[in-house]
Symmetry: C2
Subunit: 126 residues, 2 copies
DNA sequence: CTGGATCCAGTATGATACTG
DNA sequence: CAGTATCATACTGGATCCAG
């Protein structure tokens, strides 16, 4: 990944820069709420409050922070309708949709191994 | 996922229990270090110190914590060789390997969109 | 409705020292 | 080498209040 490592040439500086950037992106994206937002927004465009309801358990602040972060990375777009009261909609971009595909797989993985894991935990906790 | 929701029947309790378990698993797994460990260990069995070297930036404590958590969930096995000095090896299980496949995709995603993202960030930060 | 700002508690994390 | 325990600290995340 992340550890791309071809090295040896004169572009070492570029490579390590790209690596650290990849790390940074990975750290941004590889967190519970970010992935859950991507997953939820994958199905359809949602407003702030709708999203918050769908996520269940996320705080106002967390949602805002993560949305800003995802917007900054270009994974979603924020559309403000200048009405009153304001109406703001969040939509996944193409990169966001692409990421969503991988999140779907993780969700599928969870469903598939949930039994395994529950059993493993029982054994471990004993 | 996570939001499985068939509902309506008498097994609602079971379903919501499964959902909360799925949530829990997802929270465990969807974090930077856990995924990076899975990814690194995917290539081959490693010892504690090797793993720590490969990850670069992780503290002794964080590594231990995450390894315990992954072991508890049955994503990897911890093999202790009773020699002196001790030798402990960590290997991905089948569920672990399966998860690794999805992490690989995330890594691929990062590589593919790293340019997009860098550009998006520049625009956003202005 | 959306979201920024602030305050504060709880937790995560790192450094260090110690054991087998 | 691997791992635990302890401690100090930074940071995260939640609650609340205010504004457009």
């Amino acid at each position: 990944m992340v550890t791309t490592q071809f090295s040896g040439s004169a572009e070492d500086a570029d490579i390590s820069r790209a690596d650290s950037l990849a790390r940074e992106i990975f750290s941004d994206v590889a967190n519970k709420w970010a992935l859950l937002i991507i997953e939820t927004l994958g199905e359809r465009t949602l407003r702030f409050t709708e999203l918050r309801g769908a996520l269940e358990g996320i705080s106002h602040k967390m949602l805002t922070q993560n949305l800003r972060m995802l917007e900054r990375n270009g994974l979603l777009v924020r559309e403000v309708h200048p009405t009153v009261p304001p109406r703001v909609e969040y939509t996944l971009t193409e990169p966001g949709q692409a990421l969503r595909a991988t999140v779907d797989l993780m969700c599928g993985w969870t469903r598939r191994y949930i039994g395994h894991i529950e059993e493993s935990r029982r054994r471990f906790d004993a």
